[in-house]
């Protein structure tokens, strides 16, 4: 009953003209209102504040005094700052480059080899094993590994001892020459599952006839990997590289739990550096400058990544058409 009435009302409305065409736009925009307001309060306002504070001298109490570019000039001469960014590059290698390469090979092997010859169940179980560390809170992963890598009675040293390689034992997280590499190793373990899962999903849209044709032509596994798998999942590769690089630049929890940036700053990274500058040294202006530089780098990287991804997807669509 109501339905007919409503319908009639609409027809009447149409006769009057303006209503049906004007109403939709305004009321759809209303749905966006809570989201936009929440964003302004929780993301935009703090972000603007942080940027402003980076141009001031502020200890977190009283009002900030404007100091222009002083914080940034100081950063340029701060060897701790440069070291933290250098360590970031190591993290990009450990969390983006290495997992992407290993993930590609593993995904191709699981998809094109295990999946085909031993069934997709076997492939799924193996994939799950590689993915498991991704579900773990990074703080917990840190606890697990700091104990495995402990100098006395740590599992790794105990294992080396047991197989007769006792001379290889190390203070994995306490030796300034090794600590960064140990943290890198842990991050590879944490990160591998992500590219693997993305690549395996990507491979599902590759036409299986490509592989069959190549196999008939006598192409070996590596040739098929190089000439079919790699070009076909280029868009996924860009996504994975971008996301993982951003994650690498932001890495905090693992460093906090594993090494606290030590020993002697050997594993300090920008996010941990800004955290200690904010909350331990309470040099808020300086900490804000560090995090602003980090933000600029991350946003630039995101834009490049998005651009490469769109271009790869366009190229692929062009090739398909």
């Amino acid at each position: 009953m109501t339905v007919t009435v409503e319908r009639d009302a609409r027809v009447v409305g149409k006769d009057h003209g303006s209503r049906p065409s004007r109403r939709p736009r305004t009321s759809y925009a209303l749905f966006l209102l809570p989201g936009i307001l929440a964003f302004l309060a929780v993301v935009v306002l703090p972000f603007v504040m942080n940027t402003y504070v980076s141009f001031t001298d502020w200890q977190g109490v009283g009002s900030p005094t404007w100091s222009g570019l002083a914080n940034y000039r100081e950063l340029m001469d701060d060897s701790e700052f440069w070291a933290s960014f250098r360590h970031s590059l190591f993290m990009v290698v450990a969390m983006a480059a290495v997992p992407t390469v290993i993930g590609l090979v593993l995904a191709a092997a699981l998809f094109d080899y295990v999946g085909k010859h031993f069934g997709s169940r076997v492939a799924a179980v193996l994939r799950a094993c590689f993915y498991l560390p991704q579900v773990l809170p990074i703080a917990v992963a840190g606890i697990v590994w700091s104990w495995i890598l402990a100098p006395d009675n740590g599992s790794l040293n105990a294992l080396l001892n047991a197989v007769g390689l006792g001379s290889w034992q190390q203070d994995w997280l306490g030796d300034p020459d090794i600590a960064l590499y140990s943290v890198m190793g842990v991050m590879v373990w944490v990160q591998i599952g992500f590219p693997l899962v993305v690549f395996m999903a990507g491979l599902q849209r590759v036409d299986p006839q490509l592989y069959e044709a190549a196999e008939l032509d006598g192409a070996g596994w590596w040739r098929r990997f190089w000439h079919i798998t790699l070009p076909q999942i280029r868009p996924e590769t860009y996504v994975v590289l971008t996301w993982c690089s951003i994650a690498a630049l932001k890495v905090f929890g693992a460093v906090y739990v594993l090494t606290k940036g030590g020993p002697g700053g050997a594993t300090n990274v920008p996010s941990y550096f800004s955290f200690t500058t904010f909350f331990e040294k309470t040099q808020v202006g300086y900490g804000a400058a560090i995090s602003t530089v980090l933000t600029v780098i991350i946003l630039a990287l995101s834009l490049v990544g998005l651009k490469l991804q769109t271009r790869a997807e366009d190229a692929e669509e062009g090739a398909r058409a």
């Binding site: 759809y28 966006l32 929440a38 703090p46 917990v140 009675n153 993305v198 906090y256 991350i298």
Partner: protein, 273 residues
């Protein structure tokens, strides 16, 4: 390809997979050893019997039940609220096709990419100003917004492809926009919303930096923060560490077993669009 050549690859992959899960096994084995047994036989021996006192002591010492309640409460609220917020945003952008939607979407995407380091001090300062510091609510609010940024991005493209005939038909039958959203768009998009819920829940559960800064009192801390802080202070002996690690790992494994399909499908959805 002969079977003889296939098996070495499978064996190599299985060994690699084993390497990935060995840390979990080693933690589980050592968490049920007594301290005496641990110091006598080291970390690699199999346990003689089941010793649960270490786990029990640790549970009581950190008040683990309270930490679990906090984590479930915070992650659950964030998952629900962020999904609702994402749906509202994405409805306006994807279905409503509001003016300037590309810019609105770019705004959300960039907000999602911002490092939390660039928000953390002002969020800490502002929450003190408004009396929300050291409350679970503060963390819920912040993560609802941050997760909704990703949700908006993902859902907008999904809803952009929502069959328009269904919406048109409902409109002709007299449903207003609010009814169309809750009676048609939401039920039809349920699989994607499920993926978002699971991801938001687990991501929030695993968050470390902001909860570390915002939740200082013992009664408000999450599982991740409580364990991370203890470990960072190096207050634990080996048996304690293993108990902590096992209790931290268990919820993750439960999520993993329950949500494995959703997780892997979700990652693929999120990555490709």
């Amino acid at each position: 390809m002969t079977a003889v050549r296939r098996y070495p690859v499978l064996v190599a992959l299985c060994l690699a997979a084993l390497f990935m899960i060995v840390p979990f096994l080693i933690v589980a084995v050592n968490a049920i050893k007594s301290p005496a047994e641990y110091s006598q036989n080291g970390p690699l021996s199999l346990p003689d019997g089941l010793y649960l006192d270490g786990l029990k002591d640790f549970w009581e010492r950190v008040d683990y039940s309270q930490k679990l309640v906090n984590s479930v409460l915070i992650s659950g609220s964030v998952a629900l609220l962020a999904t609702v917020l994402s749906v509202l945003n994405a409805y306006a952008i994807g279905v409503g096709r509001i003016k300037g939607r590309t810019w609105v979407l770019a705004f959300f995407v960039l907000a999602n990419m911002l490092p939390q380091e660039a928000l953390v001090y002002p969020v800490y300062y502002l929450s003190k100003e408004v009396g929300l510091y050291d409350t679970r609510l503060s963390v819920i609010i912040v993560f609802t917004v941050i997760q909704a940024a990703f949700g908006t991005y993902l859902l907008s493209s999904v809803l952009g492809q929502f069959p328009r005939e269904i919406i048109e038909a409902a409109r002709i039958d007299g449903a207003d926009k609010w009814q169309v959203l809750w009676r048609i768009v939401v039920p039809v998009s349920r699989p994607t919303l499920g993926v978002l819920l699971v991801f938001f829940f687990i991501w929030t559960w695993n968050e470390f930096l902001l909860p570390l800064v915002m939740l200082i009192s013992n009664d408000n801390q999450t599982v991740s923060v409580a364990l991370g802080v203890l470990q960072g202070q190096r207050l634990m002996d080996a048996t304690m560490t293993n108990a902590a690690a096992l209790l931290g790992v268990l919820p993750a494994i439960v999520f993993f077993l329950v949500f494995q399909r959703t997780l892997t499908r979700g990652i693929a959805v999120g990555a490709v669009k």
